[in-house]
Amino acid sequence: MSTQGIEQPHVQQPPGRKPPGSRRKPTDASPLTPYIFMAPYLVLFLIFIVIPGVFGIWISLHNWDYLLPGKPWVGLENYTNLFSSNSTTGGPFWNSMEATGKFTLYSVPLLVVIPLLVALILNQKIRGIQFFRAMYFAPYVLGVAVIGILWRYLLDPNIGLVNYYLGAEIPWITALPWAWVSLVGVTVWWTLGFNTVIYLAGLQDIDPALYDAAKVDGANSWQQFLNVTLPGLRPILLFVVTVTILASANVFGQPYIITQGAPGDETTVAIMYIAETGLRQFNMGAASAMSYVLALALILVSIVNFVVFRNRGD
C-alpha cells in the first residue's frame, strides 16, 4: 500500500497572489519550532534509551543489589566472574547462553526456509490467495502467553492432541531432545507468517520480465527459482536472516511458559537466566554484565552474517 489511494486534501487557493519577494520558504518563523516538535519524543528517548544505555554499564560495574543500601564499586569483576571457573554465576550463565545458541541454531534455518516455501505457494495466481495469506499469518498476532498455554495443553504427554494423533507417548516437554523440538516447532508455527509476508512482498517486487526472459531461454521452474527468484530476493534474505537471528536470540516466553526451563535447566535460555538473576534475585550488577556479553555476542553474529551475505553478492 502506498500513498496513491489517499485523496489530496482541499488546499485553498491563495486569494490573491502575493508579490514573489514575500514568498516564504518552508523554513520556520521561530527557530524553536523544530525543537518543540522533537521535545515529547526526545524526553522519552533520553529517559528510557540514552540514560539507561549508559546507566546499564554503570550498574554492571557495581555489586548492585536492589534490596541492599550499599552498592559497592567492583570494577570489571561482574565480567571477569563470568569467565572464571570458580564463580557461582559463570557456569549457569554459559549454560543459558548455550541454550539460546541451540534454539537459534535449530530455529533460524527452519524460519528462513519454510516461510520461503510458503511464500512461493502463496505467490500464485489463483482465487482466494489473500484469504490463505491471512490464515497463515493469524497465529502471529497472538501473544506468546496465549501461544504458550495453548501448546502446553496440546503437547501434554497424556491428554494432549499431538500425542493422540501421533499415537505416541512422547514426553514433549520434560525430556530431550523433545523439549527443543517442541519449542522450535511452536515458534515456527507461531512466527512463520511474519517471514512469509516479507518474502511475499519481495517476490512480488521481482520484475516478471525476468521470468519471461528465463522461459525464452528454456529454463525450467527450478532453474527459474535459482537464477531469478533467489538473486532477486537477496536483500530480503539478508533482512530475514538478520531479524530471525535477533528474534531467536531474544527467546524468552516460549521456554518460560511451555518448558519452564526443564528438563533440568536445559531450556533455561539466556534472557530467562538474566531476568531471573537481575529481577528476581536482584543481583543486578551481574545481570547487567551478562546482558552486555549477550549483546556483544549478537553484534558479532550480525557482523559475520552481514559479511557473508555481502561477499556472496560480489
Binding site: 500500500m1 502506498s2 500513498t3 488546499v11 520558504k25 518552508p26 523554513t27 527557530p31 523544530p34 516538535f37 522533537m38 519524543y41 522519552l44 528517548f45 528510557f48 534509551i49 539507561p52 546507566f55 546499564g56 550498574i59 548492585w64 510458503v118 505457494i121 500464485q124 495466481k125 489463483i126 490467495i129 489473500q130 491471512a134 490464515m135 499469518f137 498476532v141 497472538l142 501473544g143 506468546v144 502467553a145 496465549v146 498455554i149 501448546w151 495443553y153 497424556n158 491428554i159 492432541l161 493422540y164 509476508v197 512482498a201 519481495g202 533482512f239 530475514v240 524468552f252 516466553g253 518460560y256 538474566i274 531476568a275 543486578m284 547487567s288 546482558s291 549477550l294 549483546a295 550480525s302
Partner: protein, 292 residues
Amino acid sequence: MAQTTASTQEKPARRDPAQLAKLFLRYAVLILLTVVFIAPLLWMLSTSLKPLPQTTQFPPSWIPQEFSVQGYSTILTTSSQTPVPRWFVNSLVAATAHAALVLVTASMAAYALARMNFRGKNILFAGIIATLFVPQFVFLMPNYLIVDYFGWLDTLLAVIVPGAAGAFGVFFLRQFFLSLPKELEEAALIDGANRYQIFFRIILPLSRAPLATLAVLSFLVNWNDFLWPVYVLFSPQNLTLPPGLSILNESYNVKYNVIMAGGVIASIPVLLLYLFAQRYIIEGVSRSGLKG
C-alpha cells in the same frame, strides 16, 4: 503490492483434466496449511466451551458434546488471585494509552526530522536510528530502576511509557512524510499558515493510513508484551493479560477449560483487530521488511 489483486482477475483458463488436477492439488496444499495454522486456535475455543471432564476425554471432540460456560464463569466470578476481567481492562487501557503516546510523540518528531532544518538534526536522526539495532534486553535492569525511581513499579505506567521510546514509529512515519509532495506545505505557507497548522490540518489528515498502521502495530505489540510486564507488575489486580495468563496456567493446573477460556479472552481483541485492520497489519509488517 497491487499485483495480488490483479492476480485474482486472471481469465478462466481452459479446464482440461490435467489443469484441473493441478488446480485441485494447489488448493489441497493451501487448505492443508490452513488447517495446520487454524486448528490449534479452534481447539482452544472448543476446549473453553467444554465442561471439565470433557477436556481430557478421548477420542477428542472438536465440537463439544455438551456446551458449558464453566470455564468462563470460573474466570469472570473474580477470584482475588486471578481477576481476569481486571487484567482485560488493564491490558485495554495500557495498549490504548501506549498506542496514543506513540502516535503523538512519533508523528511530531518524524515531521520535524522529515521537513525542518535545525542544528544537530542529522546526528540526532542517526542516533535515534542506531538504537533500532540495540537489543532491548540491555535496557532491562536500568529501566527497571528508572521506572522504580518514578514510583511506577506495579502500575500501568510502567508498561505504557518506556516502550514508547522505541525508534520504529519515528523511522516509519518519517519515511512516509518524506514521500509527501512539498508543494502542499509551500502553498499553505504562502497562505500564512504556520508549522503547527500545516502539521495538524495538512500532514496528519494525509497520513491516515500510516498512522493507522502504526497505531494498530503499537497496540498489538503492547497487548502481547510478556517479558517486561512479568517483572514490573506484581499485584494480582495490577497485571495485564500476558503475565496473568501465565499465573492462570499455574493456578488452574490441569483445568484446561478455564485456562483456554483465559486464552480466548486474551485473543478476541487482537483477532478482531486483525479481522478489521488486516491490511494495515500485513502491509505494515511487509513494509518494515522492505525498508529495513
